[in-house]
Symmetry: C2
Subunit: 148 residues, 2 copies
């Protein structure tokens, strides 16, 4: 599917506020509301828009510990492990990476005990050689959008 300038404008409006009404999106992109509706629907069908997420301040909910964990594997395949990690409720991201580590995961915890359990769970696996945990001292930015 090809995205044109109108689609981009629509996405930008949604980035500003994903709960914005079709009508307002239409006004701000100089199209009719039916068109806004149809284009958004199409982008959802094409999985360009995969859903809508509330930006929650997890710190206010007690998740004070954000961690970035590098994982070094033993041997070849980490896919199973990555899948398992991805399903853990504390995890927000899992990447296969080049360089120093084989995988990087980002996870949020309410306390060190939860973090500990998580790391132990990873280290239990035979395909994991070691992990390296970085604690975030301060989150300067964490908004899962890039400028279009």
């Amino acid at each position: 599917m090809n995205i044109d300038e109108t689609d981009k404008k629509i996405l930008k409006e949604l980035q500003k506020d994903a709960r914005k009404s079709y009508r307002k999106i239409a006004e701000q992109t100089d199209i009719s509301e039916g068109t806004a509706y149809n284009r958004i629907k199409k982008m959802q069908q094409n999985k360009i828009i995969q859903g809508y997420t509330p930006d929650i301040d997890y710190q206010k909910l007690g998740y004070d510990l954000t961690t970035i964990i590098g994982i070094t594997g033993e041997g070849s395949q980490l896919q199973d492990l990555e899948q398992e990690i991805a399903e853990n409720p504390h995890v927000t991201a899992v990447y296969d990476v080049t360089g120093q580590y084989d995988a990087i995961t980002i996870a949020k915890f309410q306390n060190r005990k939860q973090l500990n359990q998580f790391i132990k769970q990873i280290l239990k696996r035979k395909d994991v050689k070691k992990t390296y945990t970085m604690l975030t001292l301060n989150t300067i930015k964490e908004k899962h959008q890039i400028k279009l």
Copy 2:
């Protein structure tokens, strides 16, 4: 502000679909729609809900290069730099961290040239000693939610 079980249920519904109507949220949490509306408004005022973001497949928009970059500083303060990085349109996250690096940033690019420019911009600064760039080969998960 204190979050009770009802608020949590509301947040869970929004996590499933942040465009869900107040009415449906109310139905699924066994409260009236006015209550759903009032509670969500309160959580917005208290900045527990900071906004709503569309989950966009940036790869489909040409952003094929997701990078995790570790930054090592020279001397003391990296705050200015971090602020500057956070404002770059390619950047989705910036963290101050313990350990091997002083800061970690996550950024998405359409090509290596964009990445290169970004790294050069960082390295130009006197307060930066070095950077370490990890390219993601595969994104297993990147959903900026944790299970409540």
